[in-house]
Amino acid sequence: MINPVAGMGGVVGLKGTDGLAEEARRRGAKPAAPRRAETALKDLLGLDALFFTASGEMGESALRRCGLEYQVVHRASEESSAEDTKKACISFLEKGADLVVFCGGDGTARDVSGVIRSKIPIIGIPAGVKMHSGVFAISPRAAGELIRGDLEGDLNTRETEIVDVDEEKYRSGTLDTKIYGIAMTPYQPVLVQERKQIYASRDEDEFKLQIAIFASEFMRDGSAYILGAGTTTAKIAEVLGVEKTLLGVDVVQNGRTICRDASERDLLGILEEVGKAKIIVSPIGAQGFVLGRGSQQISPKVLRKAGPENLIIVATPHKLKETPRLLVDTGDFDLDETISGKRQVICGYRIAQRKEVVASSKVGTDEND
């Protein structure tokens, strides 16, 4: 599934292409997604696989140019739209596909995962303006390798977050990111570093469990714990035996949930009441955002009130290996500065890694464009 207009808005300063393909074209943008899709697909020649796809630029043309065997299961309208993406995905499921490969950005990921959910794995070929979701490969070529690996049965799959920014608001200067869902995606097991691990497990879930067991032990200290969104923090709640909203922020104290799906105001209220709290967050999406994406209820105000020293970062070694550094983008530059530097990240039972945390304002926000 290729979103032919993905990425066009970025080049001409539109911060996304949702609803603005025409404007992007008028400003001189050229479609780049089909070419990026072909980069990923051209290495797959000779693979024993049949591709279901949508007509024309939504997939058919690229597959034909790559010489791959395909079958068109959805006729796209002249000006392809999100509707076409969703309809094509419904057909993929009906046809009994094993894997969905799409090419686009976070908007496309949302549309695809809205239909596919966790039923079958999804791989994203990166071609959009914003790609914060965890389904994206780090490059089109890497996407090709993942597709091959998945079909040859060499890879494990894991849950990951689908994240998107409200483009309307983003254009007017407000960054409002949300987690829209959870998808399954294949990943390369961490080979080199874990080879000597005792009871080595390449399985990411086992590390999530290790982190969760350790957290359940240190959370006995009586403090209130603000748990950010995501599957790692959800595992902590599971081990504690408390309920947790997967996509929201919850507060846990002494083994019970004291606030579900908390808003910033709820969190400030609780901090007022209990004096101090600790915050547990896990990096969201492919770029490794710890703050500023996904759980924005944990705002600068909340962080300052809780004290940045009470921020506990947790992440599996797999996730840490994917990203050279973790990013923070709270919107409060001084606070980002305070949080950044070498920080301890809990990555297993009584084990941590020392990882660089960087204010994303320092690295430039458009490195994927």
Partner: protein
């Protein structure tokens, strides 16, 4: 000085009796383990063999000093010249000898990274003993030539867990693909020794008699430095279970305690497994399977499995009780380091002095270099000694990982661990 707390029998909670150990150790080694004598003679047969490579050289690191432009004098005592490539034969040879004297025909042991297994294989071949080494599966696969070198010396090296013991079979049934652990390998070797009449067990670190055998290093060092009319201001050595470092510095301890010499002795450990710097000083088991006596030591907990750093020999949750006692009394100090900074120091060392250090030994090079750089600022002509416990010729895949930027800096989340232990009932 605080007297050494005795090891305890875990069943009775009482101090261990010599007879508790007779099933797996020869009497003479048990006597040495429990001895409070200042000197114990080295048998001539053992001296003859140690002479093959001892005394080991003490080098002055002129080229490293020049590179750092430091006024400090850096020496290193190189144990990598032993045929097995490390300090381990210093105790492997006497241990094999006393077992042979006691009529034992076969020795079983475990090895993690392979240094100890290689050393004992060589030592047993000198005394015509059979030897079986249970090697942690992950290392067995990663360093296949360790097995080859043990085979050359006539020993049998098997991957652990194995099908040869009950404990091995039990683990394999549950975890057929496991990479094994030192704890499991110890259990297999102890079981092997306990179930074969002609077989004893041997340990390459931690125990008092092992440290005793290693003091040959420090005694040589003292004489060698005296020849050039020098004396250390500081000794740096790496610590895994603690045998090479105590061996090097224990002969200097009386100087510090009795003669009030100002000498620092620094035990260097990985930040990923910081037993002396972040552990608890308490009684704990020496192995994961809780088969050993309880030892009073700094420990991260016998259930702690250190992360997969490349200095495999330093991945141990506890340390030698004698060493821990001296750290607790402030005679010896501990420092911990991250693996990337350690490898960086190792490369600097190799590029100036030529020798490729084992990643374990490089933990002692890192602070020595830092210290020498500090001397540049103060102008102090400090005498710094590095215990270079072995070469890194079997560790090149780790150097590869360093150069390709794939080394993770692990650390121990001390505060959170303390917080989690606070509410757990005490043992």
């Amino acid at each position: 000085m605080t007297p050494l707390d005795p090891p305890l029998n875990p069943q009775t909670g009482k101090p261990l009796a010599a007879t508790d150990l007779e099933a797996i150790f020869p009497k003479e080694l048990i006597r040495q383990e429990m001895s409070a004598e200042r000197w114990i003679d080295i048998p001539d047969e053992v001296r003859e063999i140690l002479k093959l490579w001892r005394p080991t050289p003490l080098y002055r690191a002129h080229r490293l000093e020049e590179h750092l432009k430091t006024p400090a004098k850096i020496y290193y005592k190189y144990e990598g010249v032993s045929p097995a490539g490390s300090h381990k034969p210093n105790t492997a040879v006497p241990q094999a000898y006393y077992n042979m004297k006691a009529g034992i025909e076969r020795i079983a042991t475990e090895t993690g990274a392979g240094q100890w297994g290689s050393a004992l294989s060589m030592a047993t071949s000198f005394f015509d003993l059979q030897c079986r080494v249970y090697m942690v599966r992950a290392s067995f696969d990663q360093k296949p030539y360790r097995k080859s070198i043990m085979q050359v010396w006539g020993a049998e090296c098997v991957a652990s867990p194995s099908e040869l013991t009950n404990s091995g079979r039990a683990i394999l049934k549950e975890h057929p693909d496991t990479g094994g652990s030192l704890g499991i390998a110890i259990s297999e070797a102890v079981e092997d020794a306990a179930t074969h009449d002609n077989t004893n067990y041997a340990l390459g670190s931690v125990l008092n008699h092992v440290l005793l055998h290693q003091t040959v290093e420090g005694q040589e060092l003292k004489k060698q430095l005296a020849i050039v009319d020098d004396y250390p201001d500081v000794i740096y050595g790496c610590v895994g279970g603690g045998s090479n470092f105590p061996g090097m510095c224990f002969p200097f301890v009386p100087d510090k305690l009795k003669d009030k010499k100002e000498i620092r002795m620094v035990a260097c450990e990985p930040a990923a497994c910081p037993t002396l710097t972040k552990g608890l000083y308490a009684y704990d088991f020496g192995d994961t399977a809780r088969l050993t006596p309880l030892l009073k030591m700094y420990t991260l907990g016998h259930d702690f499995i250190p992360p997969s750093i490349h200095a495999g020999g330093l991945r141990y949750h506890g340390d030698a009780p004698l060493l821990c006692n001296l750290v607790h009394d402030g005679v010896i100090e501990g420092q911990s380091f991250h693996q990337n900074e350690v490898f960086k120091a190792a490369v600097t060392f190799a590029r100036t002095e030529g020798i490729l250090p084992a990643p374990e030994s490089a933990h002692a090079i890192k602070p020595a270099i830092d210290d020498a750089i500090e001397c540049k600022k103060t102008g102090e002509e400090k005498t710094i000694v590095i215990c270079l416990s072995g070469h890194g010729h079997f560790d090149l895949s780790s150097y590869d990982a360093y150069f390709s930027g794939n080394l993770v800096d692990y650390e121990y989340p001390e505060e959170l661990v303390k917080q989690s232990l606070a509410k757990i009932p005490k043992f």
